[in-house]
Every structure is written in C-alpha cells, then in structure tokens.
C-alpha cells in the first residue's frame, strides 16, 4: 500500500503514486473548509510545531489552519523571539524539540537541506515548508491539485514556470511533481535567473515569454524579488516587466486559453499584471484554498492514517 513514509521533504523523492495519493486524499478535506464548523477530530491530541526560520505569512497561516481544522495542538516558533537568535544551532533546536515529545514539525528555513537535516535527527514527522532554494513540496502539490481540478489529468499538458527559477523552491517542486504525473514542463526567464544546467532536469527552456505563451497550457508565474535586482541578476524591475511580464496583451495572442497560477505574494506590475492576476483564467485564489486541503492531507497521511478513510474522517465530528 502506498504511503508517504516518515517525512515530506521533497517531491523529487516521491513516486507518481505517492503524489496522487496526496492529491486524492486532499479532495475530501476540501469540503471541510466549506462547512460552518470547520473542524474534524482527526489529529486530536497530536502536537505540531510550526518552526519558521524565515518570515512567511501565507504558508504559515495555511499550515496553521490545516492543523487547527484537524484539532491538532500547535505551537508557532518564529525566529524573532526564539533561542535561534541567541545562536542556538539547528541541531540543538532539533534535540530540544525531540525532548518535548512532539509529533510533527513543519519547518521553513533559509538553507537548502535544512528540513532533511532535521528529519535525520528527530523521530517526529518533518514537513518541509520551504528550504532555501531547494523545494517547497506542499506548494508544488497544491499547484498540481489546482491544475488537476481544471484538467482532470496532467498527462500531456504543458506547464511553463516563469521567472526566477534559480532562487525558487517552488519551481523545483513543480518540475518534479508535474513531470512525474506526465505533464511537459518548461521554464522561461532571463538566463541569469535560470540554473545553467536546468535543461538536464528534463525541462524545455524558453528565452522569450512570447514563445512560452504560444507553447503552454498553463503558466506558473514566480515572484520576482526586489533583491534580485539589487544582486545584479537583472537590470531593473521595469525592464523585467517589459521583457518577461505576463500581460494581457501577450496572453491575448495565445493560441488557447492559458491557466494562470502564482504562488504569491504577487508583485503586480512586475512579473504579472493585475488584469491577468484578477482575470478569468487566473486560479491564484484556488491555489490558496487548495493549499489548506493539501496540507490537511499531508498531515493526515504522515500521522499514519489510512488513505482510504479520509472520507470517513471528515464525517466524524
């Protein structure tokens, strides 16, 4: 029987079956968030620490809602105010958490590999909520769920990830998850923001956004951080918008309707224009909704609950 194992660290490590398992499990959980009383007792008594070494609003809130809607007891630890700022090492943090006998840790960290580092040192389940520029598996899963909701299947569909792939953990999770489920994946952006060996990951590379739009069934538009301009990767945000921005004018020339995704937070007028973000083909808010369901599914599966009983679990109050 397919299971997720102890931790969720990276979509690169999951099989197509495991990814589908999470997507299928998320379905029933979506409905819970639509109820008046958005709570099931599935994780009652479980303790979860949300350990955020890097600022995050939406991912942290999304995890917290998922945990609370499943009746888990949660503690949020952010860098400010924790012993991390006093110089406690990641390994000491891990040992302390272990000593407190918690069940799960959701970790966001600035260093690639930090989630794995923690997972190797504690018995609790570890969920990677973004490690450096490596992966953000729950974001990848919710993006894929959003597309599957629209299309029914990913097989043969073409998804282009646009923008700062070099520094994007979202991009890597999307590349692995989508290709494993049979989609074709491309990336598009200035070469200075693409890893030089990106094509070796099995993706097509577009230098021009116009070509990507002509090719794609969906665009996943990444956030372009201001620091990238200061770091000398691109000359200006203004020029970025002019050359790579996803605009209505460009989309209108597309040979087919293109689904528009964005992991947020958006820089309107930089990587994406408002009339695209708020337009008829945008599924950006569906992604946010699906995020809670995906995280509920991941928590549920990692807690060792049987996949087939997700429907039953949602019924129990």
């Amino acid at each position: 029987m397919t299971s997720l194992g102890k931790d969720l660290l990276a979509l690169e490590r999951l099989s197509a079956e495991q990814i589908s398992l999470v997507l299928d499990t998320a379905g029933p959980f979506k409905e819970i968030s639509e109820r008046a009383i958005k709570k099931v007792p599935t994780l009652r008594g479980a303790t979860i620490v949300n350990l955020f070494f890097e600022p995050s609003t939406r991912t942290r809130i999304s995890f917290e809602f998922a945990e609370k809607r499943m009746s888990a007891d949660t503690v949020n630890v952010a860098t400010a105010g924790s012993s991390v700022t006093k110089g406690e090492t990641l390994v000491d943090t891990a040992r302390n958490l272990e000593a407190m006998r918690i069940d799960m840790v959701v970790i966001r960290h600035t260093s690639s590999g930090a989630a794995q580092f923690l997972a190797e040192r504690i018995e609790s389940n570890v969920i990677n909520a973004g490690d450096g520029t490596h992966e953000h598996p729950t974001q990848g899963l919710l993006d894929i769920l959003t597309l599957r909701d629209r299309w029914g299947t990913l097989t043969g569909k073409r998804v282009c990830i646009c923008g700062d792939v070099l520094h994007s953990r979202v991009a890597r999770s999307n590349i692995w998850g989508l290709t494993k489920l049979g989609a074709e994946v491309a990336v598009c952006g200035p070469r200075s923001l693409l890893p030089s060996a990106i094509a070796d990951l099995g993706v097509t590379v577009f230098d021009r956004i116009e070509a990507a739009i002509e090719w794609a069934d969906a665009l996943n538009v990444l956030r372009l951080q201001l620091e990238r301009m200061l770091g000398g990767f691109i000359p200006s945000l203004r020029e970025y918008n002019r050359v790579f921005g996803v605009t209505r004018e460009r989309l209108e020339r597309a040979p087919r309707d293109i689904i528009i995704m964005h992991p947020g937070p958006m820089n309107r007028g930089v990587e994406i224009d408002s009339d695209v973000a708020d337009g008829p083909h945008s599924v950006i808010l569906d992604q946010v909704t699906n995020g809670v369901a995906i995280r509920m599914a991941v928590l549920y599966l990692l807690a060792g609950n049987p996949p087939g009983l997700a429907d039953a679990a949602k019924g129990a109050v």
Partner: protein, 429 residues
C-alpha cells in the same frame, strides 16, 4: 645526539628519484641514508625492522595542509597535525599560513617551525603569506620569512584577487627561488557557492561554483608566470579545464606546477547528495569527467604532485545546514590509502608514479630535504603496506578533525613505519 641506527630489511625499495625498484635493505645512520640495497649487515645497536612484503619509499611530503595553530587549537595543533601526518606516512608537511594571526612575518614563521620541531613527528615547513594579513593588498616580507624557514608563499584559503599583486609576488619571489602557491578562485564567480555548479546543484537548490571560477585564475596565473619568469604553483586543481590550461602552459615552458587532492581524484559532486557537509570543500567535488581528466593528468605528469589540503573543522561547525557549514575535510591519515585505492588499484598509475607524486615531486618542487633514498640524503622514509584493507574510523584518527567523507569506507593500503631524520616517529599499532 644522533638517533640509534635503523636497519629496514627485506622491503621493496622503491625510489623513482634514483630509478630504484628492488628488494633489499636500507640502513639509516646519523640521520642520513647510509646504505641502500642488497643485504646490509646489522650494525651494533641498530634497530632492525622487518619490511618483507612492504614498500620502502622516500618519505611522503604534503605541500598543502592546514594545521590551524595559532588560532584554532581546538580543531588542530601543529603537534596533533604533525603526528597525524606521520601516521599517514608523511615525513614532511607544509603548513598553510591562514592561521590567526596569519603567518605573514618572520616571527610567525619561526613559531610554526618551533612548534613543528617540538612535536617530534613529521617535519613541519612553514609557508608564509603572500600579503600582509592575507588581505590581498601589501606584499609580506618574503625575504625575512624565507630566512626564518618559510619554503613558499601563499594566501591559500583565499585567492590573490589583484592580478598586479600576483604579478609582483611572482617577480619578487624569484630572488628567493620559492614557489608562489595560489588558491585559484575568482571570488565574484564563486560568491555564495556551496558546491560544483551543474545538474546536482540545480536539483539541490544550492548555489554553484562554476569550473570557470578556478580556470580563469589558473590561466591568469600561468600567463603571469610567463610574463615574470616566476614559479607559480597551482593549489588543489579540480577541473578538466584547469588540466588543459596547465598542459598548455607546460608545453610552452612556463614555470607552472600543479597539485591535485585525493578527494578530487576519488569522489564526485554526487557525494554531496543528502546535503552531507563532509563532502563540502573548496574547490568543490566536481563531475566524473573532471575526475577522469585529473587522473589522466596525474598519470602524465600535468599534475605534478598530490597534496592533501588537510582542513580540520570542529564537528559542531560541520553539523549545520549545508550552506552554513565550513569548507574542508581532513586528509593526512587517508591520503595514501585513497590514492592507492582509486589510482593504483585500478591501474591508473603504478606504485612508482604514486611515490613520485607523493614524495619525490613535492620535495623537488618545493626544494625540501627528502624525496629520495639516495645515499647521504636525509633519512626520511615511509614504509607502507600497499595491499591490506582497513575500515576508516575517524574516531581512531590522530588529527583532532573527524570531518571525512571516507568514514566507514574500506580502503586499501596503509603506512606501517614513518622515519624522520633517522628516527622512527610512527609505527602502526
């Protein structure tokens, strides 16, 4: 007081510097090599060591290690480093000057030399800094440092960023006939990098260090050596491109010598998988094609010598997320075995070439005593077993460092006796 005579009997005497490869005895007396080959009668009071089945070679010389003293005595001292060196079969090591304070003046050089002597293990030859404080600005006093015992200059740990400073160093070093050893790294290309740039770094989301960061500096140094007539020694070469550039320089008679490290000849970037910080070093582990090119270069002599780049770190510092961990691994106690396992055993080089690259060439190129079994030379000798297998257990190391990617691996070959100046300083337990 001269040490007791030592008679090494019945070993395979292997000395490329004199073309010697024959089973026989070696007599060490008064700190010198007294008799080589054939059967030697046992002098009164001599210690006799049976070397049957073992290789008796000129002592191994490591021109590149970090002994951390002064400054980081918690991770290594000159004494622990010198003892680890002897245990690894090294009779002499060159200590890089990136200590705290930096070894950039005659007093600091004298301190390293004194600590080395006091250790009574492998010889410790200080390398002085190229620039004061290794700040890359003002030339350090090469003349006084050489007078105090420095054998080369280097800002290793950091590149010499200024081409003008490098040019001046190569020119100025000519008076003292010492190599200028450079850590080839373009700091702007390598900035923030944690591993080789390539498909693995793309997958792992780690900032990569491109090969060109090394190669651009390598060719700059080669061109400056051509301009100045100085002797440039390129440290820890790691890429196929660097090999091609060195070959280009040598074909033109430019005074360039180069070293490669055991880890770059045995491991690839794949070792970083799983974010293993024991596989994090600078230059980083590269691709299989780079390893292949380096092995060829060791065979044909484009890479003149093998050096360890022994770099102990505290375990606390390696127990971090990958990008936050320091670069470097220990190497003194595994170098011989790694080279035997990955170069000699698969037939890439013979034992003679191994001895040439680990003993004769480093001694010759850095103008050090040793590196030969000729009669009258200093009695620095390494006796090793080229065939026995052993399991790497870092807990048994004499270095204070435990940071090795070879932990738990089975390696072939090990030093059995190390003789420095006629004194047995190491005997395998």
């Amino acid at each position: 007081m001269s040490p007791r005579d030592v008679l090494l009997t019945g070993g395979r005497l292997l000395d490329p510097s004199s073309g010697l490869d024959a089973v026989g005895d070696l007599l060490l007396s008064g700190g010198k090599i007294e008799a080589v080959g054939g059967r030697v009668g046992r002098p009164d009071g001599a210690e006799v060591v049976d070397c049957a089945g073992l290789v008796v070679a000129p002592g191994l010389v490591d021109v590149h290690c970090h002994l951390r003293e002064p400054g980081r005595e918690d991770v290594e001292t000159i004494a622990t480093g010198a003892r680890a060196a002897a245990a690894g079969g090294f009779t002499a090591v060159c200590a890089m000057p990136n200590t705290d304070p930096v070894t950039d003046n005659q007093a600091a050089v004298g301190f390293v030399l004194e600590q080395g002597r006091a250790a009574r293990a492998a010889r410790v030859h200080p390398i002085g800094a190229i620039s004061i404080g290794q700040a890359g600005e003002r030339l350090a006093e090469f003349g006084e440092m050489v007078g105090a015992g420095a054998v080369a200059v280097s800002d290793d740990g950091k590149p010499v960023v200024s081409s003008q400073l490098m040019r001046t160093a190569l020119e100025y070093a000519r008076t003292f006939d010492i190599p200028v050893a450079d850590h080839c790294e373009d700091p702007t290309l390598a900035a923030g990098g944690a591993m080789n740039e390539g498909v693995v770094s793309a997958r792992m989301g780690l900032r990569g260090i491109p090969s060109e960061a090394e190669e651009i500096m390598a060719i700059r140094d080669i061109l400056l050596a051509r301009r100045t007539g100085g002797h440039v020694h390129l440290c820890h070469m790691s890429t196929k491109g660097s090999v091609e550039l060195i070959r280009w320089g040598k074909e033109r008679g430019i005074r360039v010598t180069a070293e490669a490290c055991p880890h770059h000849l045995s491991l690839t970037e794949e070792a970083v998988e799983g974010y293993d910080t024991h596989a994090k070093m600078n230059p980083p582990l590269r691709t299989a094609a780079d390893v292949e090119a380096l092995r060829d270069a060791v065979r044909d002599g484009t890479i003149d010598l093998l050096a360890t780049d022994h770099a102990p770190h505290h375990n606390d510092e390696k127990q971090r997320a990958f990008a936050d961990a320091p670069n470097g691994i220990v190497g003194l106690e595994t170098a011989l075995a790694v080279n035997l396992t990955w170069l000699v055993k698969p037939g890439i080089i013979g034992l003679g070439t191994l001895v040439e690259r680990m003993s004769c060439a480093p001694a010759r190129i850095f103008r050090l005593p040793g590196g030969t079994l000729r009669r009258g030379a200093v009695a620095d000798v390494t006796v090793f077993d080229a065939g026995s297998e052993w399991n790497v257990d870092p807990a048994s190391f004499l270095t204070k460092g435990r940071n090795t990617p070879y932990r738990g691996m089975t390696l072939t070959g090990r030093a059995r006796y190390t003789v420095v100046g006629g004194t047995l300083v190491f005997r395998a337990g």
